[in-house]
């Protein structure tokens, strides 16, 4: 048993509608690593989590979690992992304390041990005051925290969290972030987190894989991903939106080796030397008579990286189709 995740050529096709939700995905997560799967809705994040946590079988490929094969030894995998799915999994008719005690007993804690564990966890997720109340009366944030406590009952080696902060207010989100950081840093728990929030992945994870349309499109540390796309980002809008595609093509022709992305009403330009190239863009547009409504220079965020990578992919697909 170890705290690693090893995934090789994982593929999942749902018979219903013949949807390929995960396409030949491979990655490794080291023991003690905080790893994030970043992607939009429907990218295949949850499906991957469900396969790795033994809820569904892969169509093909191999996955080892905590040193055990998820398909051949699901019982062993379940012992060493903690899982918080997108939807919390609690019984509204039990109290918070009863819920944790039940989970502890299922994991083989004796009665007294289970009580002790419940008390510890209630303190960690700050639910001691609400412990005797039925979960049906909990707020969304409290349910989330309780759900997190449930995933920790068996002191998991690896924690899987599928969008754990979706729908939470900022203070609850911060509380969860802090607890995850503590678990990772102090306890050494390996964490596999999926999220649509770029700042979440950026702030928590050691390493990020960006998944889109069932495929991993980029992997690296937040720093590496940011470096991958140049140092600066110019964002501009044109006065006349109708000119935009034409202007983008023009710019691509004029500025070799610079990434220009056409997105809705904005043009994104990834450059090496921001100020110098900003001036060049203004000059070029001025020459051709494209009037600029607004122009900004910034360092790229993960958000920008994400947009760049996914739009590159889309454009690539389009090019093949044409």
């Amino acid at each position: 048993m170890n705290g690693k995740i090893v995934v090789e050529h994982l593929t999942k096709t749902f018979k219903k509608g013949n949807v390929q939700a995960v396409k030949d995905v491979s990655f490794e997560v080291e023991e003690g690593e905080f790893f994030a799967f970043l992607g939009p809705n429907g990218a295949g994040k949850s499906t991957t989590v469900q396969i790795l946590t033994t809820l569904i079988n892969a169509t093909s490929g191999k996955a080892e979690v905590a040193g055990h094969d998820v398909i051949r030894e699901p019982e062993k995998v379940r012992r060493y992992i903690g899982v918080a799915l997108q939807e919390t999994g609690v019984d509204p008719d039990l109290t918070g304390r009863e819920m944790i005690e039940l989970q502890a007993n299922i994991f083989g804690f004796r009665k007294e041990e289970g009580k002790k564990r419940a008390q510890e966890l209630l303190e960690i997720v700050q639910l001691t005051e609400a412990a005797e109340r039925r979960i049906g009366n909990y707020s969304g944030g409290m349910r989330r925290r309780l759900d997190l406590a449930l995933t920790l009952v068996n002191e998991p080696k690896i924690l899987f969290l599928d969008e754990p902060t979706t729908g939470l207010d900022p203070s609850n989100r911060m509380a969860i972030w802090e607890e995850l950081r503590r678990l990772n840093e102090e306890v050494g728990t390996t964490i596999f987190l999926t999220t649509q929030y770029l700042e979440e992945a950026d702030s928590l994870a050691h390493r990020i894989s960006i998944i889109n349309d069932g495929e991993i499109v980029a992997t690296g540390t937040p720093k590496e991903l940011k470096a991958q796309i140049g140092n600066d980002l110019i964002t501009l809008t044109l006065k006349n939106e109708k000119q935009q595609s034409e202007a983008v093509e023009y710019l691509r022709g004029q500025m070799a080796g610079v990434d220009v992305i056409n997105r809705q009403n904005k043009v994104l330009i990834y450059v090496e030397e921001g100020t110098k190239q900003l001036l060049e863009v203004v000059r070029l547009f001025d020459q051709e008579g494209y009037e600029i409504e607004d122009i900004q220079l910034s360092s790229p965020t993960l958000d920008d990286i994400f947009l760049k990578i996914t739009s590159e992919k889309k454009e690539g697909v389009r090019a093949v189709g044409e």
Partner: protein, 259 residues
């Protein structure tokens, strides 16, 4: 490796009993309806037992099985309701993510539903005694009636758990319980078979396995230990249980499988 089936089943059952007791409205209406059947039909229809076809039988003893079957079906239906609730709350998935025995996860609510059924049946029989019920076969007969109720309840629990596991949806499971009405009323509910007028109802009563449950309970309550008359209920239970438990098992396997 592997968890202890008995321990897990115990944990699941206790938890289901707890949550049932915390939702009194999940069983009180059915209990009231069943007691209401007993009181109203006894009060309003007991005169017809003067008819020669009844051979002097007490109408209370004749109508009691209807009330018992109604209570039993309601109690057993609780199994399906608990499962649907767990699926909707995501708690079912949470359980599947633990090393808990897959069988225990499904058995817990079914056992709790059966216990609910036993309690409800005993309450109904208690009310019948308060109304002056006399049973020719004595304590043994009451025990037999209870066993038939449990068996018939199990058949219905299999059906309701199967529907719940298959649909995972409260409305569908609720719709599934509508089978309650034809089961109870398209039968020898109020009068013996010979007194049913409509031909279609006679056919329905012959097909409806509940008829054999009623008849076998009535044999124990009114006629005495007439072996083959008693056994018709047992046969009905065995046949229907085989079908519904198989249906539940297949649905359960699908619900916990990872395909």
């Amino acid at each position: 490796m592997g968890n202890n089936l008995w321990k897990d089943t115990w944990l699941m059952t206790v938890r289901n009993i707890k949550t049932t007791l915390r939702n009194p409205f999940s069983f009180i209406p059915n209990l009231i309806i069943s007691a209401f059947f007993l009181l109203v039909y006894e009060g309003g229809l007991s005169g017809i037992s003067q008819l020669p076809t009844f051979e002097g039988a007490n109408y209370l003893a004749f109508i009691l099985p209807v009330s018992i079957v109604s209570a039993a079906i309601g109690g057993a239906g609780g199994a399906g309701q608990s499962i649907v609730k767990d699926i909707e709350n995501g708690f079912f998935s949470r359980l599947l993510l633990t090393p808990a025995s897959r069988l225990a996860i499904v058995l817990g609510p079914i056992i709790a539903g059966m216990l609910q059924l036993v309690v409800q049946t005993l309450l109904i029989i208690g009310i019948a005694f308060l109304l002056g019920l006399e049973v020719v076969t004595g304590f043994g007969g009451i025990l037999f009636v209870l066993l038939i109720a449990v068996g018939w309840g199990l058949a219905f629990a299999g059906y309701s758990a199967g529907v719940a596991l298959r649909t995972g949806n409260a409305q569908a499971a609720q719709a599934g319980t509508f089978i309650f009405f034809p089961l109870i009323f398209l039968s020898t509910t109020f009068v013996p078979y010979e007194l049913i007028e409509a031909q279609w109802l006679k056919i329905a009563a012959t097909i409806n396995p509940t008829t054999y449950i009623f008849e076998s309970m009535r044999t124990a309550l009114i006629d005495g230990w007439v072996f083959w008359d008693l056994m018709q209920g047992v046969f009905a239970i065995v046949i229907v249980c085989t079908i519904t438990i198989t249906f539940a098992a297949i649905s359960a396997k699908k619900a916990v499988s990872r395909g």
